[in-house]
């Protein structure tokens, strides 16, 4: 990783940035992370892009409402090539294309929203008309003929003759009660109110359905009201009051005609209006469809809808301006800094040359210059592929590797699935997982299209799954466990004879894995437990030793010899002399045969090694060589004990003495930073100064301040070292114990499998007959479901988590600093790909 400065003249900034974004390999450094985006030179461009995106999202909603399916872009590369093609054909400066698109989007949005508003208005109108029709029909029913007969006084002499007025209209259903109450209060009960539900929802929906609209904005249910009150005169105070009340409910009020004929006429009128509106709607809708279709259509040579084409272009443009904002502007020159992976200079220079050629006005394009020393720690860059990605992801979740330290992601590719396999050891279960991985790998393209498939989410992890499956399968053979049954593949070395098992011959060994005869013997659990336990400790110690070796590699690479001699060597020795030795005697014990109950206990041996350092072991691991064993254990214990102060003392002492020397020299040179401070300020005043020196000074200042930071208190160093040492020594024991989870989890797995098998299948097979068959079928289903639910999902998860822990805690704490930060390449491809996923999942 190298640090470069980039200088671009203002005129060609866009072209250069556009070219560089195709390279995917630059990591731009923000010159002042504190500066809010809004104060940067291109903030208004970013804002304009945001506005356009917002407009597009408005359009997208409309597209969805009209059930237009967009063609989403699948291949970003070809789209980017297409953009480039379009730019070249335009024969105008590249950045102006954004202006054109922006205007186009604005126009489209206004046009389409207007059309859809028109459509909405018309629909509302139709609704109102149909509502009126309904109201009239219903009112006719409620009021009947008598209302009209009242108009003609049947007895002109009757002084009590009373005229009634009526009000008819529509209100929201939920206001019904309130409406009734207010009317009652206003008229003091002197009015007759009838309310009837209108099922206009139905009309509403049918209307919408016929135009293929979404039904999300159905109106609230409404109801019809009819008020009959005494006093028909226009000017009666009661009527005025009632009119006010009705109007304040903000809904339609309908003049009820005076005679039956008029009602009929009105109905006719409404029907006619309805017809007219409907044909209008049809027209508007066609127009709208046309403009929407334009958005959906693919442009010539482009692989996605025009809408997507615009959206992605705007996104790309926004990304460019955001990154351009990371550059400082001085006069008409942009200056920026970026990280570049080794060996990419030629590519960048070529891109710059390209930019020059493609640039219509042939402005000089930028130049790059390497800057040494690097003022910051470089970002960590991974070159990943589909196989390594999930494993690196596992490591990155814990922490990004420090720049150039050993990346545990590489080893994780094998160790992670292996440790998982040790816990999930079962031939059948492992094979099922393996099949799942195969399915994911070979049907990947098919699965990618099934957006609702749960396998879709697992696709990035397919190589992880297949490896996990493979190692579980392999370890299943080692433990000889097939759904809790042992397979007799190679022929057992034992055969039953009366009540005992007889070994075929003395040299007979089951060729691979555990002899199936153990399953049949009563002590199968005892044997397997001790075997698995020892195996997991051996694996654990190897894993940890490997981690310590990686620490050695790190110290050598960074030329940190102090850590190499005062931390790595004693740690390695300590580990080898204690748990390494334990592993060794475990294996020796496996290889030897002991007679007359003289087989040694490993735990006892280990404890006595410390507690009784001068007593000969009673049951030596090396038969008949108790003296020899005592010597060795004494030496090893001595080395282990010496290692502890070795880890603790030398490092802080050496650092302390170095600090003292450093302090003396620092006090001599204390005036230096002040001078450079002045230089910086002087140069700030003169902005035409070469910026290079400026940066150099900044870099100097930075390294100086880092030095001062490193100058800890010696007390702090002591405390730190003490914690490290205690952690390592205690961690050696507890971490080794922690690897016993390899045994525990595989025990749990095996026991669960056995329980399911015994409970569901084993007993039922003996029943026989039709009943047995039926029961067997039923219990087989139960067995399959349990196996899938508990073992294939929950247990996979559990073993995964434990494997994760073993890597994060037990393995990585031996060497992994994990304080780096990720390389974030400046790449159109990345930003577009990120946004593609979103549109797919919608």
């Amino acid at each position: 990783m190298k640090y470069y400065s980039l200088v671009i003249p203002r005129e060609s900034a866009w072209v250069v940035m556009n070219e560089l974004a195709r390279l995917d390999q630059l990591h731009f450094v923000d010159y002042d992370p504190q500066l809010p985006m809004i104060n940067r030179p291109f903030a208004n461009y970013v804002k304009r892009c945001d506005d356009s995106l917002f407009k597009l999202s408005c359009l997208e909603l409309l597209l969805k409402e009209f059930k237009k399916n967009l063609n989403y872009c699948e291949n970003v590369d070809s789209l980017l090539d297409y953009y480039q093609q379009v730019q070249q054909d335009r024969m105008k400066p590249g950045h102006t294309y954004f202006d054109e698109l922006e205007q186009e989007i604005e126009q489209k949005k206004i046009q389409i929203q207007e059309q859809s508003a028109n459509l909405q208005n018309l629909l509302d109108r139709v609704n109102i008309i149909t509502e009126q029709q309904l109201v009239l029909e219903n009112a006719k029913e409620i009021l009947g003929q008598s209302m009209f007969q009242q108009q003609v006084p049947h007895n002109p002499n009757d002084y009590q003759q009373l005229k009634f007025g009526q009000l008819i209209g529509v209100i929201d259903k939920e206001e019904e009660v309130r409406f009734k109450r207010i009317i009652f209060r206003v008229t003091k009960g002197n009015a007759w109110v009838q309310i009837k539900d209108l099922n206009n929802e139905q009309i509403d929906n049918s209307m919408r359905k016929s135009f293929h609209l979404n039904q999300n904005n159905t109106s609230q249910p409404r109801c019809l009201f009819v008020i009959v009150f005494p006093g028909a005169e226009e000017s009666s105070s009661l009527k005025i009051k009632l009119l006010k009340v009705c109007d304040s409910f903000n809904k339609q009020r309908i003049e009820y005609p005076n005679s039956m004929d008029q009602v009929q006429r009105k109905m006719m009128e409404l029907a006619q209006q309805l017809q007219e509106s409907k044909s209008l709607i049809e027209m508007t809708k066609q127009q709208l469809e046309q403009s929407l279709n334009k958005l959906v259509l693919q442009k010539q040579g482009c692989n996605c809808s025009y809408f997507e084409y615009m959206r992605l272009y705007i996104l790309k443009e926004k990304y460019l301006y955001v990154n351009l904002n990371y550059l400082t502007m001085r006069g008409s020159i942009f200056t920026g800094y970026f990280w570049l992976p080794e060996g990419m200079e030629i590519m960048v220079e070529e891109k710059l040359r390209n930019a020059m050629i493609n640039n219509r006005d042939h402005y000089p394009t930028g130049q790059i210059q390497q800057i040494k020393p690097q003022p910051y720690t470089p970002p960590t860059y991974f070159n990943l592929n589909e196989v390594t990605l999930p494993f690196q992801e596992i490591v990155n979740t814990y922490g990004i590797p420090r720049y150039q330290e050993v990346n545990p992601g590489l080893f994780t590719i094998i160790t992670f699935p292996f440790l998982f396999g040790v816990m999930f050891a079962d031939i059948a279960h492992g094979f099922m997982l393996f099949l799942c991985g195969i399915y994911l790998i070979f049907w990947k393209n098919y699965l990618l299209k099934q957006t609702d498939s749960m396998f879709n989410l697992m696709i990035p992890f397919r190589y992880l799954i297949i490896l996990m499956g493979f190692f579980a399968f392999y370890n299943g053979f080692i433990y000889n466990d097939y759904l809790s049954i042992s397979l007799n593949l190679f022929g057992s070395c034992y055969s039953p004879e009366k009540d005992e098992w007889k070994r075929e011959s003395k040299d007979c060994v089951y060729p691979f894995g555990v002899d199936p005869v153990w399953q049949a013997s009563g002590s199968s659990l005892n044997f397997m437990n001790s075997y698995k336990m020892k195996l997991s400790v051996i694996l654990g110690v190897i894993h940890m030793l490997f981690g310590i070796l990686m620490k050695g590699v790190n110290t050598l690479y960074f030329k940190n010899y102090l850590d190499f001699f005062c931390e790595f060597i004693p740690q390695l020795l300590f580990m080898i002399c204690t748990f390494g030795w334990m592993d060794f005697i475990i294996i020796v014990k496996w290889l030897n045969t002991y007679e007359n109950n003289t087989d040694p206990s490993i735990i006892e041996t280990m404890i006595n090694q410390v507690l009784k350092p001068f007593d000969k072991p009673v049951n030596p691991v090396f038969p008949n060589q108790a003296e020899f064993q005592l010597r060795i254990t004494q030496i090893l214990t001595l080395i282990a004990v010496i290692c502890i102060p070795w880890m603790l003392l030398p490092k802080p002492l050496i650092l302390g003495s170095k600090n003292d020397k450093h302090k003396v020299s620092m006090s001599d040179s204390q005036y230096q930073p002040l001078v450079s401070d002045k230089q910086v300020s002087e140069q700030d005043e003169d902005s035409n100064q070469e910026f290079d020196n400026d940066l150099q000074n900044v870099a100097n200042l930075k390294s100086f301040s880092e030095q001062t930071q490193e100058e800890h208190d010696s007390g702090e160093i002591w405390v730190h070292q003490m914690i490290e040492t205690i952690e390592f020594v205690l961690g050696g024991i507890s971490n080794t114990a922690s690897y016993l989870r390899l045994w525990a989890l595989s025990l749990a797995h095996g026991q669960l499998a056995e329980v399911f098998y015994d409970m569901c299948l084993a007993g039922k097979l003996d029943i026989g007959g039709i009943l047995g068959g039926l029961l067997g079928g039923y219990f087989y289903i139960v067995f399959a479901l349990l196996t899938f639910g508990v073992l294939m999902t929950m247990d996979v998860m559990e073993c995964f988590l434990h494997a994760l822990r073993l890597h994060w805690v037990e393995f990585q704490n031996k060497f992994y600093k994990a304080d780096g930060y990720l390389f974030n390449g400046y790449s159109y491809k990345k930003i577009l790909n990120d946004n593609l996923k979103q549109s797919n999942s919608k």
């Binding site: 206001e175 209060r185 006010k244 304040s248 903000n250």
Partner: protein, 387 residues
Amino acid sequence: MDLCVFGVDDGYAEAIIRGLRASFLSEAQYQQMKNCASIPELKSFLEETDYQNCLQADNPQIPTSILRQRLKKKLADEFEYIEAQSTGTLTKYLFHLRCRFMIDNVVNMIEGLKNKIDIEILLSNIDPLGWFPEIKNIKVLEGDDYSSLYRDVLIDTPIGVYFMKFLEESIENLHENRTLNDIQNLFREMKPEYIRTSLKKMWLEDFYSFCESELMATSQEVLLELLKFEADFKTIQVIYNSIGNRDLNTAAKIITTRKQLCPTIGNLYPDCEKLYLQAMTLDTLREAVKGCDNYRDLLKDAPDPLKREEFNVQTKTLDDIMYDDECRRYALAFDGQGSYGVFYAYLKLKEQEIRNIIWLAEMISRKLAKNHPGWKKIIIPFSHLGK
């Protein structure tokens, strides 16, 4: 004890409030807002803050009235969300908070209708926090007849109770042999502002007694304190405004008005007779409140109400001083846990923030010079914490 059980019902709502607390604009952000040169710039700045979503669909040249409406809508939405998450006492409590806005809305409607402003405009200007379905029916109001307004429309509404009390009180104050005409005259002359003040007084007293009787001890501790101060501020304000008021020409009138409008709670209440009777100038008012807290310090900077005509934008009015002090107290309410005080304080402080933004928007749209004293006239919630 209530700290143990507070979380059972109200923990979630409180957590939301505490989350929303992060949305307050910081002092640096106010500084940036002051630097905005135009309304579009201010709008684009606000879009970077928590107000993003409520403004995005609008035109950059947003009028201040629309801006206010949008900001208030956002606050109302948040409040509604919390209300939906609340149960039991908290729901009742939050409803009480709403009543204050309802009173404002009703009085605004009455005022607007009196001035013959179109109902649609009035409806679009109401505070969404105080919306209730009956509000649009106020139009039914005929002439100045408040009693029929109450009888026909407001009787069912949450603030109907206050309105009824108000009517009763105002009628009682009339002389013995009153006629219907007298009552109508009384209402015709009554100023909406007077109605607002008396309704709010009743609301405050009611809210106070609600807090006293139904809330748990921790909430009471915070809220009663806040409400007492609020009541005191109201009292001081009423007295302050009555000094030299032309409508109140006789001493007796001043005293009855004061008695009617001053809340019957708070630190000043029990022995405020002296206050009512004697405080006829600013100095005597200062003298009268000296016993309580920092009131005297507050009044020290207040301009003399007798010189009301000379006030201009630069004057730091009594209202400003009190807002400032209230702001500090509300911010303190966020300190304690397990109390309902935060809901009240949040509402108040957000109101203040909206006032600030609107004020700044006004300043910006009038293109006032940056050294104009009006720029300093904003009270930033939580700003005292930094000091």
